[in-house]
Structures are given as structure tokens and as C-alpha cells.
Symmetry: C2
Subunit: 129 residues, 2 copies
Amino acid sequence: MDLTEQPTFEFDVFSKACPSRGTLEHVTGRWGALTLGALYEGSFRFNELRRRVDGVSEKMLSQTLHALERDGLVHREAQPTNPPRVDYELTPLGREVAERLLSLIHFVQGRMDDVLGARERYDTARGGR
Amino acid sequence: MDLTEQPTFEFDVFSKACPSRGTLEHVTGRWGALTLGALYEGSFRFNELRRRVDGVSEKMLSQTLHALERDGLVHREAQPTNPPRVDYELTPLGREVAERLLSLIHFVQGRMDDVLGARERYDTARGGR
């Protein structure tokens, strides 16, 4: 055994104990992906973001933003005004993550005709749902 | 109103009623992303895939594969052998989706040191968790 050789730890989402799996889930989770995608358009106040991410509850958006802020992907900026104004925006790292997510989102949106066709064939082959 | 103008329907994941949101969730869901990522490596039998996607239950993997097959992203090939042998592989569309997902996964894995550093700063600023 060569003790001069440092073991290099590789993060691996396929391993359930790896912390990268949790981050992947924050990023790709039901609301995480849409929140990052929305924030790529610019900074948002909480209620603006809630309207943009159609269907998210106040509680879920709040949890989602906390997880993304803790992972260093979203920056929360509180202005010392009265009433206080809080803006959310992507960090540089969050921006890089959002770019990759949007590439996936745009691809899926652009191929929905194929997806819906596949669903129809699948359901027909199984005698409808 | 100009009736010659055809409304073009744009799929939009930000709209909660759009079917693209469901597909995005199949693709990015907790097990969907890992299943597509694993299948990018080649075809797998069910139990092989279960080992590769560490932590997934038989039930969740089965549900995940059905949703991805119905969306036209995964192909299920049953061989007429005894015992029957079933292989799962990506369709060409599934391959394109998996490429985009893996780009995101590899990026996240590669930046986990930044993420873990951000978490530490976040928790310290809030007096630990």
C-alpha cells in the first residue's frame, strides 16, 4: 500500500450516502427546478416568485428557497426598508446550475409532442387507462 | 381578431396545467434522474438497475420505469426465454434527455466542495443547526 497516495474522494449521486444526492434533489426537486429556472430571469421578491412558479404553496417555496440558499445557489438580499424588502437571486454557482437545468427544461418542452404520442401508443397498447 | 392567425400552443413547465410539467417531474424526480443516468451506461435488467440506483425500492423503481416507458424515454424488451429476461434501455429521445441530465449531475458532483462550504457558512451564521 502506497501511503503517499492520497485517496481522492469522488462525489457520486448513485451512492445513497453521498451528499451530492441531496443537492441534486434540491436542484431537480418538484419546486427546486422551477425556482432556479425562474430566478434565471432575474431577481424576484417572494410573492413575485410565487406567482411565476404556478402552483407552489407559500410553505413549499419558503422551504425550497432555504435549501437552495443553504447550498449556495440562491442569494437572499434583505433591504433595510420599512416594510422590509427581500429579493432572491441566483449566485454565480446557481446560475451555472440553472443554465444546465434550463437546457433540460427547454429540451423537454420542445419534445412534448413526441412524449404525448408515446403516451397515447402506450395507453392504446394496454387497452386505454 | 384575425382568425387566420393560428394560436401556437407552447408547452410551459411554469404553468401547472401543462403536461410538460409532469414529464419534467418524471425526468428529474428522485429516482427518474438516477434511472435515466444509469441507463445511459447501457441496457440493464431490473435487478442490475436496482443495484446501480443505490437505495431505490423495488416498487419505486418499477413505478419510475413505467412512467419513463410511457413517456417514450425507456424501452422495455422482454426476451421469450424461460425464465423470461427483461432488459431496459434508453430510447433515442431518452438518450437526449439523459445527456442533459448527466451534464447537470456531473456539474453538481464537481462543485460539491463549494456546496458543502456554503452549507457550513450558512449553518455557522445561524448558530449551527
